[in-house]
């Protein structure tokens, strides 16, 4: 594990995240404009791969997703934790090498918690999440079409309320970009190494004790 996280990561913990985003990268240039034709095609291409993986992983199925909520089917957790493990090591390594910018969403305690719980209520009723819902329509689970229409309606409804929400809930406990290594005052490298070990052990225990599901 040590060999793939560069040593230089060690000294980064005190830097603020924005300044750590390599200024020479110039990711703002036209090449990365999300509206240009190349990026639209790349978006479609990457989306196709994501949808393919979701379908092959069996997580576009209502029963599997509800199983995650009933704690009887751990497929979703296994996929998410494996993706986090790989993505964490890969993205932070590439960032350290100056190859990518980070895209950290702001931590807003009230909005994250309230929004997260509201999302969960919808998740329990629908049985698909936004990504797996699109995949469910793709594999012919027609009830997900109603879910997709609901997602569109809900998004617009939120936009109607956004003026009010932006001046209230969004401001409660707004901490900006906040990542665990910085909060805990440890180096990113050390955190990633220990957390990778922790995630691996969690996955092992999940497999060991819930293999029957």
């Amino acid at each position: 594990m040590n060999s793939i996280v560069p040593d230089s990561l060690q000294n980064q913990s005190n830097q603020n995240i924005d300044s750590a985003e390599s200024p020479d990268l110039n990711k703002d240039n036209q090449k990365y404009n999300p509206q240009n034709t190349t990026q639209l095609i790349l978006g479609l291409f990457f989306g196709i791969i994501f949808g393919y993986l979701i379908q092959k992983g069996g997580v576009a199925n209502y029963d599997v997703l509800m199983g995650a909520l009933f704690l009887t089917d751990f497929t979703v957790m296994k996929i998410i934790l494996s993706a986090i493990l790989t993505g964490m090591i890969g993205i932070f390594t590439m960032h350290r090498l100056g190859l990518v910018e980070l895209h950290i969403k702001p931590t807003r305690y009230a909005a994250n918690i309230i929004g997260g719980l509201v999302f969960g209520i919808g998740f329990g009723l629908l049985g698909y999440c936004p990504g797996t819902g699109a995949a469910a329509v793709g594999q012919g689970n027609y009830d997900a079409i109603a879910g997709v229409l609901g997602l569109l309606a809900g998004s617009y409804f939120y936009a109607e309320m956004s003026g009010y929400i932006n001046t209230t809930i969004m401001k409660w406990g707004d901490r900006g970009k906040l990542i665990f290594p910085d909060v805990m005052g440890v180096s990113r490298k050390a955190f990633i190494v220990y957390f990778a070990i922790f995630l691996t052990i969690s996955l092992y225990l999940l497999e060991r004790f819930y293999a029957l599901f």
Partner: protein
């Protein structure tokens, strides 16, 4: 394992998860974008809204930050649909179902009831995703992989809210 996926076999979740992790490295590198699904819905809802009232839609605070236009994340969302279709089609796994089995065992086979609840569920979920700042992909994979405190908090709340709701509607 049949990696071409032509026999409809479910892939190992560890393999799928690892591939998704690699995919997110690729989207960071080639597109300067994190993986996410819910913003695509939000943009499409705004694009539809513009057909009815362009001025009103553009005046909304949310659509001033998140422009209702077709860009990378909208194409990514369309790709998810196409990719899942391709995988299911090639694997001979096109479901063609209107009501999920588990739902039918609990609530019966009414299409209308399932569609209404799915619509309401989707509506509530999108509202929550926008408030939380992302969904199971944007927070649950991209945000957590970047060790964002808010993303881990949101992911846990997705499952807490979901577990409570699922148990209430199925067991009460």
């Amino acid at each position: 394992m049949d990696l071409m996926g032509n026999n409809g076999e479910v892939w190992s979740p560890y393999l799928v998860g690892t591939f998704i992790g690699l995919l997110s490295m690729a989207t960071f590198y080639f597109s300067n974008q994190p993986i996410g699904a819910s913003t695509g819905y939000a943009r499409i809802s705004g694009i539809i809204g513009k057909f009815f009232s362009k001025m009103h839609t553009n005046s909304l605070s949310f659509f001033q930050e998140t422009k209702p236009i077709i860009q990378w994340d909208v194409m990514f969302l369309i790709g998810i649909f196409l990719g899942a279709f391709a995988a299911a089609y090639m694997g001979g796994e096109i479901k063609g179902t209107w009501v999920p089995t588990l739902w039918e065992e609990r609530f019966g086979s009414s299409y209308l009831f399932r569609f209404c609840l799915a619509f309401i569920g989707g509506l509530i979920m999108a509202f929550g995703a926008r408030l939380a700042g992302g969904c199971t992909s944007g927070h649950g994979i991209s945000g957590t992989a970047q060790l964002s405190v808010g993303s881990w908090l949101a992911l846990m709340c997705f499952f807490i809210g979901g577990a409570i709701t699922a148990n209430l509607i199925f067991n009460v």
